[in-house]
Amino acid sequence: MGKLFAVVLVIVALVSAYPIIANKYGMPEDISTHGHLIDDQLHETMWEAGLSFVGAQLVLAFFIWSFTNRKAGSPLKSFPGGAKVMVIAAVLLVGTEILALGVFGQKAWGSVYFTPPKADALQIQAQAGQFAYYFRYPGADGKFGGLHPDKIDEGNQNYFGLDPANEPEARDDIVSGELVVPVNKEIQLLMHAKDVGHSFYVRELRIQQDFVPGLDLAIHFTATKIGRYEIVCTQLCGLGHYNMKAYLNVKSPEDYEKWLKEQAAAL
């Protein structure tokens, strides 16, 4: 039974590692300017974690194979070097690993959170509510109308609680269920939660950020590839959580302008 278990262990280790090595379930293509840092970080970690995983499992299997139910009288041996070696090995190996990853990781993290958005970044407001996202563009006047929760009227398409009756700058605000952005242009997303906690997750953008009620955050990113990508919610927000999504529609600058005009016309 011991030997059987050892074999099972080897098989499990190799089979588990195979899809990763064969990259069967890869990450989607990165379409952001900062994403490659995260990807590098992840691959780096994948190597280290993968090696330690396979290594440990194989060693375990080997020891089980060779040291189970040995014939009587076979002498007990003790690992050369004993605990000291283990401790030193662990501290050195893992310690350096941690430092390395820590340093690189800081770079990737910083590229998302510590670099301020460019002055000319395009500001778009994103509102998450049960169970849909809506995005708001300031419109011709470049100014956002104020938010008045009491004015929210979803049946009437007023998802943000704008007050066009009293606020002229709200009248030309463009509201869309799709996040349409020009390619290669930095976007600053002003995140506002209407009801409970939600999250903004675009796999291709390598961006994930929670919406926190009562706490308006901002993230910024630059999409580098034209296309239509899924925005999904990763923060449990209620019964419709599974179906809370929208699309990030990256257009060429011309198409983007065209789209803006159409939207303005529809107002």
Binding site: I38, N69, A83, A89
Partner: protein, 593 residues
Amino acid sequence: MQETSAQQAHVHAPPEGFIRKYVFSLDHKVIGKQYFALALVAVFVGMGLSWLMRIHLVWPNSRIPGLELLSKVGAPGGVMTPEYYLSLLTMHGTLMVFFVLTNAPFAALGNYFLPIQIGAEDMAFPRFNMMSFWTTFVAFVVLILAFFIPDGPPIAGWTSYAPLSAVGKDAGPGMQWGESLWGLSIAIFCIGSLLGSLNFIATTLDLRAKGMTLMRMPISTWAWFITSCISLLAFAVLLPACILLVLDRHAGTSFFIPAGLIISDRAQPHAGGSPLLWQHLFWFFGHPEVYIAILPAMGIVSHILINSMRKPLLSAKVIIYSMMSIGFLSYMVWGHHMFVSGMNPMSSLAFSFPTLTITIPATVMTLIWLGSLYGANIQINSASLFSLGFISMFVSGGVSGFFLAQPSIDIYLHGTYFVVGHFHLVMGVAALFGVFSGTYFWFPKMTGRMMNDSWGKLHFLITFIGAYCIFMPFHYLGLVGNVRRYSSFVNDFMGPDLMALHKFITISALVTGAAQFIFLFNLIHSRFKGAPASDNPWNATTLEWSMPSPPPWNNFGDRHPIVYHDPYQYGVRGLKGDFVMQDSPEQAITSGD
């Protein structure tokens, strides 16, 4: 008050009558069994729920026969609604984390064997001990009630993030009374755990037998001791959090609910609260909770490995110190659950470093276990197999933690199935392997009968392979970006290959779950029909094996055990064989310990 109960304990006569013996018993052994039974019920309920969820996930909107009986509203015509999926998810998480992973390895086995392993007659405060079980039991009943109220169980997940969990019925079905029952249940559970941990610590500190120095305590006892220190701190913080949550829900306060929320077209009458406050309070408990689940397993596994290797670990001290440092570090890392929560990005880095640092003691322990296997003479049986399996699971679950500890990678992996795979392996499966191992190992002592070893091995093989088949693929799904807590996958990227993987997981889950009934049957059958067990069937050294199986009501009878050795005198030439009991005065002829 504890004083009088302590007094009772020491003078308590053999309990008379059914009630005193089995229901409101002061005997730590009976209480341990009660915890075990409760955990057993909870784990099978929780497993059933996970089956329903898995089936619904891969065959969405299919009629699940019989589900309508569970809830007419939740599953009209047997088709699971999205909110009912979340209800099951919440109940699954809560049952497993609190009533299984906290109860089984810590409260159940700890209650039974901690006093015995240190040579005490009972816990320090038997009345508190009884109270802590029955409090926990009430908490369980309150939680289960949620299934039977018209509103249904809560849908906020076991983490109950505010404001979703705090605003009441507008947040959706189950959030009116179900969520309140949840909060109440957890608050009650906290009280039970606090009483229990307090009892564990006092017992370990003050009721040790003569000669039982701290460093002579078995590693399992050390694990339970460290765990009780952790949980004394953790639950003392969760309790206030739950109180504040319940107040927000029913007293109209605004601790967690900010102003201007419109939920279901209704303005919420709250202002100024901070949702992040709940997350901080919850995870300050929540992360140590992970170690409350895994540390006892580590101790049990070390304890059993040594016995089946017939030689001591490379160093028991290092294991103990590692467990201590893990316990200590566990309080500096809660923020790694909140990397993308809107917390100050600076503090994310601050939290990431200690998180990564935990890898060091974890690696040390793993290496010690592995290194100790070298040159050993491993006795293969159900118990040792599960211990060895634990090491494998602990490694697998541990390495995936390495990804999530890094904020930059967490940006991509947070909230995906990668996380699900990670904590199920390391916190769920690994901890349960410890419990299985302990059960197979100690069952003879608890009942005086052996469990069936062949069934045990079968149970192990299926469970081990099954666990990998279920939880490894979760990591792949996570890498693709498959989001967790979805009641069905309407996303574009859920291609046929991913759904195939999900189907595979579901089938593995059904098979592995079914295998657990082998264990259940073995447990019940062996209790009555198992082969009679000697006092020391494993030729083990620690105190629990120096008493009759099953032990008498006052553990050591009138004898006061005296301890002469370190706990693990294996691989020596003793009178009885290759070991020397902790309480036998003989000097072991040994080639160094």
